[in-house]
């Protein structure tokens, strides 16, 4: 055990200070020290992209950098998506896209796919199919064959573009004040009757859980 060092990360907008050994990978700091298990570890070798997070806005594989190297950086993980300004009804349009377009089967790659998709859409709000495929080329999926992942990201791009158009119209109509359209219709399962999406499985995507703070992630 080598000496630990205090580092400060701004994770999904919240400043977090933790003590880590220099050899601790960023993905382990996120999952183990910050208890945010939405970011997955897949291959552990930099191939699969399941651990993709945004560091200062750029998608990176969090198994390929040490936590101390992220000291002072802003880190975005899948847990931050539901609180994103673009999110409606607890889901970011990307998350909604994966739901609507069946963009996941086992879901293991999904957090990484969503973060790569987010980086793409921030940079290029109207990507072509080829651009989407290039943007997720560092993220492996063994279930879907990628078709529906591409559709999910296209769904989000359309939804975000509609939102901007709506905002612009609302601004015009209200003489400069954006209107709140309220939550969109939502047709997911609602097993516990609280109006929130859940797939019904324990400890998954916001379903029944002993700790409800980690929606969107697994609890392994």
């Amino acid at each position: 055990m080598s000496e630990t060092r205090e580092i400060t990360l701004t994770v999904n907008g919240t400043e977090q200070t933790i003590d880590v050994e220099p050899r601790k990978l960023l993905v382990h700091a996120i999952r183990e020290d910050l208890d945010m298990t939405g970011t997955h570890i897949g291959c552990d070798t930099g191939n699969c992209g399941a651990c993709t997070v945004l560091v200062d806005g750029e998608p990176l594989k969090s198994c390929l950098m040490f936590a101390v190297q992220a000291d002072g950086s802003a880190v975005e993980t899948v847990e931050g998506m539901e609180d994103h300004p673009d999110a409606v009804d607890d889901l970011h349009p990307l998350q909604e896209g994966f739901h609507e377009e069946h963009g996941l089967q086992c879901g293991y790659c999904t957090p990484g796919m969503i973060m790569s998709g987010k980086a793409l859409l921030e940079d290029n709000p109207d990507p072509s199919e080829a651009e989407i495929r290039e943007a997720i080329s560092g993220n492996l999926c063994r279930c879907t064959g990628y078709q529906n992942i591409v559709k999910s990201i296209e769904y989000a791009a359309d939804k975000l573009a509609d939102g901007e158009r709506d905002d612009a119209e609302a601004v015009a109509a209200d003489g400069g004040v954006a209107a709140d359209d309220g939550p969109a219709e939502f047709d997911g399962y609602d097993v516990d009757g609280d109006g929130e999406f859940s797939c019904g499985a324990e400890n998954c995507c916001g379903g029944p859980s002993t700790d409800a703070t980690h929606r969107g992630g697994d609890e392994r």
């Binding site: 055990m1 080598s2 060092r5 050994e21 220099p22 050899r23 601790k24 990978l25 382990h28 552990d44 070798t45 930099g46 992209g49 993709t52 750029e58 998608p59 990176l60 594989k61 198994c63 390929l64 950098m65 040490f66 101390v68 190297q69 790569s116 980086a119 290039e134 943007a135 080329s137 560092g138």
Partner: protein, 295 residues
């Protein structure tokens, strides 16, 4: 914890980094870390001391200066990929950058780190060879400039001394009648090359090849020069026949190994094809030929 414990140093200047390399015992330099971190994680590398150069802002550049395109040690693959200067003037670098690994790795990995890693499957070394590039290192005795041909010794082994830090790689700014290209064959997006060929062609005013540089990826124990093909091209006018002959000579000079992706004969044939394609692109970009044959 995946890696063995190590002391982590974060110098903020080249001078500080060089003194650390000189004074510490068996230090390993960490830049982008896209190869080193997995090696540490598998304990294939077990340094006691890691000198992390990511905080040395003076090494974060990609620009033309003093007749060279200079790529600082903290320029990421993505910086090359998204550079207007590269897109405008450096065809081979513009070809190669988006073919390196995947977007996340390009955001973090560095050109210089890839050169320092000296993986024979790395792309940038072939371009340094093709362009007559140089590696600039700083050590206790100051700066040392190492020509690309003298840099790569064996897989993962270079002529860099243990207390030296590569601060920059550079290639000459292209002349007016010059074109370059890089072609790479890989099994799928994001993979290392099965074979890759970078070429740089300079023509005289009459459209005759004045100098040719050809570097090959993944078909020898290091990035390698196809000198027979280069000699064959120099003094000649570009033509499909000439490029075909050059392709054959490059293939003959390559030494690929058979593996699960293809046997040696297949890879040699691919060197031939990639060389012809890259020569065609380079000549076209130099404004000397309009492509009539696309092999």
């Amino acid at each position: 914890m995946k890696s063995a414990p190590f002391e982590h140093h974060q110098p903020t200047s080249v001078g500080e980094a060089v003194s650390l390399l000189e004074s510490l015992d068996g230090p390993t330099v960490l830049s982008g870390g896209q190869s080193l971190v997995p090696m540490l994680r598998f304990r294939l590398a077990n340094p006691d001391v890691v000198v992390d150069i990511n905080g040395i802002e003076e090494l974060d550049y990609l620009h033309e200066d003093d007749g060279y395109l200079k790529i600082g040690a903290l320029a990421r693959h993505a910086d090359v990929e998204h550079s207007d200067l590269i897109a405008e003037k450096y065809g081979s670098f513009a070809d190669a950058a988006p073919l390196v690994a995947d977007p996340q790795i390009r955001n973090r990995g560095t050109v210089v780190g890839s050169v320092a890693q000296a993986d024979p499957k790395g792309d940038w070394g072939s371009l340094l060879i093709a362009h007559g590039g140089e590696v600039v290192a700083h050590g206790p005795d100051g700066e040392r400039v190492i020509p690309a041909d003298e840099f790569f010794l064996l897989p993962y082994d270079t002529s860099l001394d243990e207390d030296e830090l590569i601060t920059e790689v550079r290639i000459p700014v292209p002349s007016e009648r010059e074109g370059s290209a890089y072609h790479k064959l890989k099994r799928k997006t994001g993979d290392y090359a099965m074979a890759g060929v970078g070429v740089c062609l300079r023509f005289d005013d009459d459209g005759v090849v004045e100098s040719a540089g050809i570097g090959m990826t993944a078909v020898d124990i290091t990035n390698a020069r196809a000198s027979d093909a280069e000699d064959h091209l120099e003094g000649e006018r570009p033509s499909p026949d000439l490029f075909e002959e050059a392709g054959e000579l490059a293939a003959e000079q390559s030494h690929p190994e058979s593996d699960e992706h293809g046997d040696a004969a297949y890879k040699e044939r691919m060197v031939d094809v990639l060389t012809q394609r890259a020569l065609g692109d380079a000549a076209e970009r130099a404004g000397v030929v309009r492509r009539t044959v696309n092999p």
